[in-house]
């Protein structure tokens, strides 16, 4: 059946002025676990959602300039890599798994982590480093990706995330 409307307005625009907020916690430093949080952040930003990303513990490697371009994927302890568990720890296996994953990610047209973070910042994301993790790894702002806005503690994170949906990766 065909209906005609005279005052058309795209439905997606009705939510343009959303007050939805998302906070994503990135706590892992492996290549495979770096992507989920960033992909979700990218999707949120594309929907006009205010997005804060908090990097804590091993997730700090994602924004540490010396490490962010060199994250690794390992088959050790990961049954989803579908190989006998005894092979995982052999020399060279992590390098091989990392190489393979990077190739697959590039095939999909996804950027590497540093470029991905740059895109997110350009899209309006706010990046934060966890104070405890920064202290523990003996880093400071100079060691972090330029797009990081600050180093904040857990209570500041709680203030910042008031009313937000929190995604923990």
């Amino acid at each position: 059946m065909t209906t005609t409307t005279t005052a058309p307005r795209p439905a997606f625009l009705d939510e343009t002025e959303t007050d939805r907020k998302v906070c994503i916690i990135c706590s892992k430093g492996t290549l495979d676990m770096a992507y989920p949080g960033l992909v979700l952040a990218n999707a949120a930003l594309g929907e006009g959602i205010e997005t804060n990303i908090f990097f804590t513990f091993w997730g700090l490697d994602m924004i540490a300039t010396k490490r962010m371009g060199n994250l690794k994927a390992t088959p050790v302890g990961n049954t989803a890599m579908h190989m006998p568990q005894a092979i995982g720890p052999l020399p060279g296996m992590t390098a091989m798994a990392t190489r393979m994953m990077k190739k697959e990610i590039a095939k999909l047209g996804f950027p590497e982590i540093p470029e991905f973070l740059r895109t997110l910042v350009d899209s309006g994301a706010h990046l934060w480093a966890c104070k405890m993790s920064v202290d523990m790894m003996k880093l400071d702002m100079d060691d972090l990706f330029e797009g990081v806005e600050g180093i904040i503690g857990a209570s500041e994170f709680m203030e910042m995330s008031a009313g937000a949906q929190i995604i923990f990766v």
């Binding site: 065909t2 005609t4 307005r9 439905a11 997606f12 343009t16 006009g48 047209g109 895109t119 899209s123």
Partner: protein, 105 residues
Amino acid sequence: MTTTTIGGRDVHVDGEGFMTDPTEWAEELVPALAKQAGIDETTPDHWVVIRFLREDFAVQGETPTLRRISTVAGVPTKRLFELFPKKPGKKMAFVAGLPKPQGCI
């Protein structure tokens, strides 16, 4: 299927207001579509994006994502958010008369 009138022309749209038949789109409709998407003035930079979307869709069969537009058409991400604020992917697809982009990035 719903039809609606845009720029004095009857076109088919889906439940969200996106045009469903790319052949019903024409450049003359752009000012009216842009206005509905909250864009009052279509600048040459808007046109670069819109024309790229149309050409890329014709070849690839799917609406390009923001990343594809920035890497292939060379329009920086920041600029895309300035041209089509808040929901750039959906807004530019809407103005170009294409389905909303499905890609994750």
